[in-house]
Amino acid sequence: MDQFSGYVRPDGQVGVRNHLLVLSATGLTGPTGRRISQALPGAVFVAMPYDGGLLGEDRDAQLCTLIGFGVNPNVGAVLMIGGNPPKLDYLAKKMSKSGKPIVSISMDECDHDAITLTERSIRAGAKLMLEISKLRRVSCPLSKLFLGLECGRSDPSSGLVSNPMLGLMADRIVDEGGKAVFGETTEWLGAEHLLSKRGATPAVEQAILDAVLDNENRAIEAGLDLTGENPGPTNIAGGLSTIEEKSLGNIAKSGSRPIQSVLKYAEAPATPGLHAMHAATYAPESVSGFTASGANLILFTTGQGNSFVNLISPTIKISANPDTEARIKEQLDFTCTDVFSGEVSLVDAAPRFLELIIDVASGTKTWGEVLGEGEEVVSRFGGSL
């Protein structure tokens, strides 16, 4: 049986990494947070740029994302900083269900002095870092993987080969009892009749159709032609002509299993299996939504090349375009140009990709990790008060 080596968390989730997360819960402490994380080599740093005046969907999404990053199993411990104790206490309490060590320090407790916050946080963070370094990887079943399925700077090779390859992996992990999530609602447009049929219940079927209609109407109301926007200039240069064509390639990432639910941005799925997230298509926002929902590994296809990777969850970059493979070897963790050319079948190449997934889940670095790429970008839905 295929297994990977991961960090088992107190709540039973499994991390493929063991990060100290330095989390600035407000934009006010962002620069201080960056300084703190730089003093703690190996820590990952996320700053939420917004805080006061958030309304409705934005407020919910920001809180859900902050909590989601904290409880993501790739995070071994959280050092959280922010403005005032009530918000930090609220977030820490929500994160504490994961059972991992969480320390929060507010500016209110430091006389709003950045140097005091820095000094206290480095001291607290160093202790957390030492503590999580005692954790060891153990053998875990593939059911503990939660895949985030993404594509960026796609071209027709994505729809032909790379996305179907992700689909095979999604099916495999779902069949093992694990989880997978795909999003990018705009790229269901033109393929929703196929996607909605896979809804596990009539309510899910309807939710998929509603999500697509919502995005199509928003695009029309904004007065834009989707062509040029999505597909964007790179997609068009690569050979994609319309959103319908792009979508039909995109949904291949989701494989063939039933869709258990349509999640809101950053919402954690309640059950194992495959889930759809009604969310932005722009990769940085989309992937952060997956990570906040609990995804511990991102599979990311590209046609023309795309250097963006997630910070909290390792991102495996895959392409099937022979020109792209020749151009950017130090970005692509996996290539299947031999499948594109027909030398090897998709099914025959799949075990090689699964092997890489298991390796990366067990600690092998991705190019993005080696190069220190990685960022979290959280969606906004409206203005602030």
């Binding site: 027709p156 319309t242 050319s341 079948s345």
Partner: protein, 100 residues
């Protein structure tokens, strides 16, 4: 589509009902290209260059005709397109989310 159906062919037609084929290499105007429609081998003289991964129509289409790839409608022809000619944003258009 059988898995190895691309090997040795210049382009791929993903579903026998498709009007649109995808180039598996850079194709040049005037050259004879080989692809399969279902199990049927076909040949076509290219009317234009078509870059890797870009599309061409496998038969003459008229303006307004719906065009398929993956067996699904992906665009409408905005002008007549000859078999073997590049089909892209200059002559095929999305039928969705179009500005009012």
């Amino acid at each position: 589509m059988s898995e190895n159906s691309r090997k040795g062919w210049d382009a791929v037609v993903l579903n026998p009902i498709d009007e649109l084929a995808t180039a598996l290499r850079h194709l040049t105007a005037g050259e004879v290209v080989r692809f399969r429609v279902g199990d049927q081998p076909c040949e076509l003289i290219m009317k234009t260059d078509v870059a890797l991964c870009h599309k061409f129509v496998v038969r003459d289409v008229v303006a307004g005709e719906k065009l398929r790839k993956y067996g699904e409608v992906v665009a409408g022809a905005s002008e007549p397109i000859e078999a073997g000619a590049h089909a892209h944003v200059h002559n095929i258009k999305s039928l969705r989310a179009v500005r009012k």
